[in-house]
Symmetry: C2
Subunit: 340 residues, 2 copies
């Protein structure tokens, strides 16, 4: 059969109508993994009110900044922050390269694998492990080491690579905000250089939009005279608590219009965000879903744990200051992309 011009037009119209219907469906629900409720509504209302040019709370595209804590907000932080897992895992390679460390504490304890002894390591021991595994190499060598670890390491519960353990509903929020002209940033207590290695692939966030705990580097030359930057054990900024707004000012120079966190380390970032003029969104992820993820608090009577926390005082502050609490159990239809 010879295709007529009219048939082509008809087909084009059908395809157009189909695309239009899909667009409408997407426009109707940019957050399909979210149950209807106050949390979802707060996000949708915020986007509508800040992007509608007729709205008195319209925000020009250049000022649309949203910041996200990472551990416990964008991905799982239990049983231990991934970066700490990385540092412990790296001790093996470190001792292989420098066998003289085999009998030196705290490295000796770490390679013994004795969980009870490892759990008793002090903060000072941990600092030694962090310094030995996160500094002393070139920035490029560090990137390669983290990349390799990420490709091999698996979370102990789900037996999946760490960057598959990101929350599907939060990925939707990232995409929804970006589709509406927001620049999305990570603002993490984790190492800035560490998170940058996988932020683009995992969250669609480029390295220059990662604000994290910052260490100094030292410019110099390798044995062939080629310029290198060496990671130094020098803390420039601890991107936790008051360090979060300070880090945001340093790296972005603008106050966010939206901020997402899950622990007291995020309180100042949320306060700072909410204190700006016009529409501001401040949200806290509450881990109350022991079945699909973890439940810890102790807000709302959830168990207190060593890693991550959500004290009742933070919950109360959220209520008082108009922050929205996201219940992982009630607000999320699905937690991970790999769930059926």
């Amino acid at each position: 059969m010879k295709t007529t011009y009219k048939q082509i037009l008809l087909a084009a119209a059908l395809v157009g109508a189909l695309a239009f219907t899909t667009t409408i469906a997407r426009a109707q629900d940019p957050l399909p993994s979210w149950n209807d409720g106050a949390a979802k509504q707060a996000i949708v209302n915020f986007v509508k009110t800040t992007t509608d040019a007729a709205s008195p709370q319209f925000v020009p595209p250049a000022e649309r900044i949203a910041t996200f804590d990472q551990d416990g907000t964008l991905w799982v932080e239990h049983p231990m922050y991934s970066q700490v897992m990385y540092c412990f895992d790296r001790v093996g390679a470190l001792v292989k390269a420098k066998p003289e460390l085999k009998n030196v504490e705290p490295f000796k304890t770490v390679i013994s694998g004795d969980r009870e002894a490892i759990a008793k390591l002090t903060m000072k021991d941990l600092e030694k492990i962090l310094a030995a595994t996160l500094t002393g190499m070139s920035t490029e060598q560090f990137q390669a080491e983290v990349k390799q670890w990420l490709a091999e390491a698996k979370d102990p519960r789900w037996k999946k690579p760490y960057n598959e353990l990101t929350y599907q509903p939060m990925q939707e929020v990232l995409r929804y905000l970006r589709a509406n002209g927001f620049k999305t940033y990570i603002c993490t207590g984790g190492g800035q250089d560490f998170v940058r290695v996988y932020s683009e692939q995992t969250y669609g966030i480029p390295p220059e939009q990662v604000v994290g705990t910052m260490g100094g580097t030292k410019y110099g030359y390798d044995k062939d005279g080629k310029p290198i930057l060496t990671k130094e054990p020098k803390l420039l900024l601890n991107d936790n608590n008051a360090g979060k707004p300070e880090g945001i000012h340093l790296m972005i120079g603008r106050r966010p219009h939206a901020a997402f966190g899950n622990s007291p380390g995020d309180q100042q970032m949320l306060e700072y965000t909410k204190a700006g003029d016009g529409a501001r969104l401040a949200m806290l992820v509450l881990h109350d879903d022991a079945m699909r993820e973890y439940a810890y608090g102790p807000a709302q009577g959830l168990p207190d744990t060593k890693v991550g926390t959500f004290p009742q005082a933070l919950y109360d502050k959220a209520q008082k200051d108009g922050w929205t609490v996201i219940s992982m159990k009630n607000d999320w239809k699905q937690t991970f992309a790999f769930e059926k």
Copy 2:
């Protein structure tokens, strides 16, 4: 005469053809203020080779980073860096607010207006003036103060606002790179917060793309309990010399593909840029045009001056390492937008 449908179509076709011709002309010369020569050719070749998907030196859009020194590279740095002019100008307001400083050095000398005495101020005096005028206030108050100064202050030679003294040919390079998917950054020895106030308006570069000398801020609350960030007299990074690649790593986390400077303070940034794989562009602006701007060196026998410098050693390094020197006198048709 009644306008017919055909006449409208004809007019539309003519307008279309005209727009098309203009587009072609622009596409043919994205750098109209540049004379033909090695410098212009280096820029055009770099853009072509890094953006042509068929080129072996193609650079994916996400990695297209270009960094620009500011003083002496994007705008005039003589007779004194604008930020130093700002600090001296602010001393008057400072003494008005704190009259007890009137008889305290070095403020006493500055408000005396005695140029000879001011020229003799030591580096330590200058540091005191910088600390007093750049720190101690909220980030928002500082922004307002710089904004007001910029609206009023004038360059002593041209009697124009400082942000009109940007080099037209460099503005064309910024726009040309951005039109080809490059993210343009300032990488300045000047204060990061200072330059951020006017970078968008002056260069089309948003505050988050300004890398500069970084001071710490301190998060706290004002008398009404509202969160504020106060600028502290604490140096986090001196964004000069080795500090430039260190600052670039801290703020961007990627190595630039193109870098532009004009003094030894930019040498490490250019080295670091050029040491990357593939096509890399390193350029130095030589101030050899006493008539239209200034001539200072002492490269090529130009006079040595207190502010800004271009020693013969830097010129020789540029030749040796394949950096391109831009002669303001020979490579630029026009220096400022206000020139006829």
